[in-house]
Structures are given as C-alpha cells and as structure tokens.
C-alpha cells in the first residue's frame, strides 16, 4: 500500500522552470518518509501534488502519475482525495475553517462536509482528539490557542477523515520551542496511533533523525538522494545540497576531524 510518484513533473503557470522535474518516489503505509531540501527545492510542491491539491486548486501542469493505493489522482477532485491523503501546512492559523466556535466543531468540519452520519462524525472526532491527546481542548475556541495547540487541532481535523496517508509541510516551522516539542512528540507516535504512511517535509534534521524511517533529498525539483534515514543524514553531501545535518552528526564529524572522541548523549 503506497503513494507512488512516477516521473512526476510539475510546472506552475507562468513559471520559467518546473518546480518538480522528474520525481520517482514511494511512500509506504505505516512508515515515515522525511523530505529535506533547500528552500525552493520543490518540497512544498511535492506535498501539494501528493494530496492532489496541485493542479486542482493551483494553476499548473502535472506530467507523470501520482497513484494512491493504485488509483491515479489525475482528474480526481480534492474532496475525493481528502479521505485518502490528508495535508497539514505550516501556518496553524490559516488552516482553521473559521466557522467553528469550539475545537470539537472544528475537528468535525471535514466529516460533516462529506455528509457522514452524525454518529460517525462523533466517533471520528472523539478518536482524532484522543489520538493526539487533545481531548482537553475540545471546548476551547480554536482562535485562542497557542501555535502548537492550533497546529494539533488542525492535524486532528485532518486525521478525522482517517486517511491512510498524511503529508505534513514543515509542521513545526512557525512554532516556538514548546510548540515544536508538543507537535513533534505527537508526530513521533502518529504512525502507531493511526497506522498512516507519513510524508514530512522539515528543515529540522534533528526531528527527522528521531522519526523518519527513510529520507529523500530534493534539489531543484529532483530527488538527489533517497534511503534509510540514518544513512541519508550521514551523507557528506548534505551541506552541498543546502541542508544542515543533525547536531549529533555534525559534532561527530567535527570531533573526528580534530581527532577526538565524543561521548554518547541521548539526543
């Protein structure tokens, strides 16, 4: 069970160069694929294409195929794909629907849109809140939450549809350290909680070192490296590609260069 990219090219309308230039990539169910790359390497576009939001909601041209569990996304409307692949963006606030006065209702937004039976809606909301451990926020006003909390509410809203795949585009980049810890702790356990296949784009390689099974490196729209997380993060070419390796690896390298050894410390 996978999301598979085959020869995917994507060009935004009016752009000189394609944002994605021949991507072959596979995301497996029940595992985490980390995606790293310098800014403007195509990471965000990759997320939009995976979820079918591009080209459906953004003008552009898609070549190649993206298949979710064997079915192509070509020609599918985003609401049809919403039950197959959920997306979480960077900015917690702009993702909120703005129509709900409580977190509970915010999480119910997507199931209600699809016209699911009321009991079904209640089940899904409760499960999503429980999976993320935010049941205590259920009665709160979504507009009055901290960044980290808002991001978790947005995530709950996404997993309420029980999609087998999740795409997260820099979910912690706009959060303070507390929010980042809050969200990353939840993300670390998300596969176990939902069984989903997760594609996560992040600059924080320390975070990916903790949670990613495999990592792909993007540079100018192409995958230049892909493999088990630990291997890719230890690749000496990472900095050439504009990516900062995790602290542990940087320290180990600097120590090796200076001919000293480094004690082990839990990251």
């Amino acid at each position: 069970m996978t999301i598979a990219f085959e020869g995917v090219r994507y060009g935004y309308a009016g752009a000189r160069q394609p944002a994605l230039d021949g991507i072959d990539l596979v995301l497996h169910s029940g595992s985490v694929l980390g995606v790293v790359g310098a800014n403007e390497s195509g990471k965000s576009t990759l997320c939009l294409v995976a979820a079918g939001l591009a080209p459906a909601t953004i003008a552009g041209r898609l070549d190649g195929t993206v298949t979710i569990d064997g079915l192509s996304t070509a020609g599918a409307r985003p609401y049809e794909l919403a039950q197959r692949c959920g997306v979480l963006f960077q900015n917690p606030v702009t993702q909120l629907s703005g129509t709900a006065s409580t977190v509970w209702e915010e999480v119910a937004f997507a199931p209600r849109n699809l016209g699911l039976a009321l009991d079904d809606v209640v089940d899904r909301v409760e499960l999503a809140l429980a999976d993320l451990g935010i049941g205590g926020l259920a009665a709160r006003d979504p507009q009055r939450l901290s960044g980290g909390q808002a991001q978790l509410v947005a995530l709950a809203g996404v997993i309420a549809l029980r999609p087998p795949y999740l795409v997260l585009d820099e979910p912690t980049s706009q959060l303070d350290p507390r929010g980042t810890n809050l969200v990353s702790d939840i993300l670390a356990g998300l596969v176990e909680a939902t069984g989903a296949g997760i594609l996560i784009v992040e600059h924080k390689t320390d975070l990916l070192a903790r949670m990613a099974n495999r990592i792909a490196v993007l540079e100018t729209g192409r995958v230049v490296a892909e493999g088990p997380g630990k291997e890719v993060l230890a690749d000496p070419r990472l900095e050439d590609w504009g990516i900062s390796p995790p602290s542990g690896i940087r320290i180990a390298r600097a120590a090796a260069a200076a001919g000293v050894s480094v004690p082990e410390v839990a990251a």
Binding site: P78, V87, F109, N113, L118, V122, V158
Partner: protein, 283 residues
C-alpha cells in the same frame, strides 16, 4: 488510467429529526435557554427584519414607537435591558448630526423656535429630527436585540439546515472571523513600516504617503490568505456535493413557525400599505 472512485457512500444524514444525538458534548449540543433566547434563531432574525421594516417603512410616529415598545418588551423578557446601553450610545454621533441638521436646516420650514443671529431652528425641523432619530434608534436596538440573544453560529447553522447554501453561509461566518484577523494584521504592517521610518504621527501630507505601504501588504496578505484557505478547505472536503451533516437542530414548533410567517408577511403588508398612503390615519 483508472479513475478514482467516489468514496464509499455515507449513510443517510440525520437532518429532519428534531432529536439531538445524546453523544454530542454539552458545549456543542447545548440549546440556548431563557425566555426570549429560546426562540428559534430564524424567528429572532425575522423579528429583527420586521422591526427594521416597520421602523423605517411606516410614516409618522407610530412605526418607530411601536417597534421601540416591542424591542423593550423583548429586552425585558430576555433580561438584557442594560446590555442595550452600549448600542444606544453608539448611535449618538449619528443621532447628534441628524438632530442638528434637521432642526437648523430643514428646507422650507418657517415656524421658528428662536432666532439667534444666523441660527434659526424650526419646530418642523425638530419634529422631523426627532422622528428620524427614533427610527435610527429603533433599527439599532433591533440589531442589538438580535445580536445579544442569538449566537452567530446558531443562526448560521439553522439557516443552513433550512437549505441556505454552504458557501454563502461559510462566507458570512468566515468573514466575521476574518475581520479581527485583518485588523491584527493591519497593526503588524503598520509597525513594520513605522520601523522603516514611515511617518504616521507627523503632518497629514506626510501620512498620506503611507497609504500604499500600508494597504499593499494588507491586500497581498488577504489574497494569499484566500489562496491558502481555499487549499485547506478543499483538502477538508468543503466542495463535496453531499449535504452537510447537521449537528444541532433548534426546536421549532408549529405555532412558532406560523407566527413567524405571519410576522414576516404582516410586516411586508404594513410596508406596502404605508407606501400606498393607506396609513395616513396613524399619528
């Protein structure tokens, strides 16, 4: 290339029944309590509509006075008499200008109250001014009554259940919420531009230069927001053709429905009669 199938058909939604699922948490399922608040949200909306129609549509003193009386009765029933005060105060600037303009400048009036130099207030003007004031106040109070006894979410939910389009309701609701966000953002933009020495405290002509640097980012930001929100909404099934599941059904008895229609049609009839000059006998 295989086409994507529609998701498995969901079971029929439960709108139409008046039962509220016992499993909804209190804060979601809670219907409003209290004498006036208990009315169906659409009823309260229709009341406000009728009040506005009569306040402005019926000539003379009767219209606004009757409406004010009704509103007062409603406010006392709902126990929000005191809460109306801020809304009343908010009308003062408008009322003051109406009073001044009409009393002193009513065209064609000759019955002067007093003459002080060039100023010549007239009784006709004063009467007209007072009537106009009453209408404005009546309208403001009808809006206040609606706003204080009805949560916007409830009203939107009820209208949606009656079949108002999902998108229209979303736009109304989201716009209300977007306003504070835009205001906050305008503040951030102003700060950033002032930090670049844009003068917002000095002379007026200098301040006029600030329009583009202040408005530009606000507009761009709004457009970007719309784009981001559209994507997020699509990703959460907003454009699905299915009928949205109803969470709350507000009680709406046969009596209430009948009374509501009567009120709605009645106020329109009164308006037509007034325009046609059939209500001249009213003071």
């Amino acid at each position: 290339m295989a086409e994507l199938e529609a998701p498995a058909a969901p079971s029929a939604p439960s709108d139409g029944s008046t039962a509220i699922s016992g499993r909804l948490p209190d804060f979601v399922a809670r219907p409003p309590t209290g004498p006036y608040r208990r009315l169906n949200p659409t009823t309260k909306l229709v009341i406000a509509f009728a009040e506005a129609l009569v306040a402005f549509g019926v000539r003379g003193w009767t219209g606004p006075l009757v409406v004010l009386g009704v509103i007062l009765a409603g406010a006392v029933t709902a126990r929000i008499g005191r809460a109306l005060l801020p809304y009343l105060l908010a009308t003062i600037p408008l009322v003051a200008s109406i009073l001044l303009i009409n009393t002193f400048l009513y065209p064609g009036a000759t019955d002067r109250i007093v003459t002080v130099g060039p100023l010549a207030p007239t009784w006709t003007g004063l009467v007209a001014a007072t009537q106009a004031t009453l209408r404005v106040v009546a309208f403001a109070m009808s809006v206040a009554l609606l706003g204080l006894t009805t949560q916007p979410d409830h009203l939107i939910a009820d209208l949606e259940r009656r079949g108002a389009g999902r998108r229209v309701m979303f736009v109304v609701g989201a716009t209300l919420r977007m306003i504070p966000r835009m205001i906050e953002r305008a503040g951030e933009i102003t700060e950033a531009q002032r930090a670049r020495a844009l003068d917002t405290e000095g002379r007026v002509w200098r301040r006029a230069r600030g329009v583009v640097p202040l408005a530009g980012p606000l507009v761009f930001g709004a457009l970007t927001d719309v784009e981001e929100l559209t994507m997020a909404l699509e990703a959460r099934g907003f454009t699905a053709p299915t009928r949205r599941t109803v969470l709350r059904v507000f009680p709406d008895s046969g009596w209430e429905r009948g009374a509501r229609w009567a009120l709605f049609l009645g106020s329109i009839v009164v308006l037509i009669l007034s325009i046609a000059g059939r209500l001249e006998f009213l003071p």
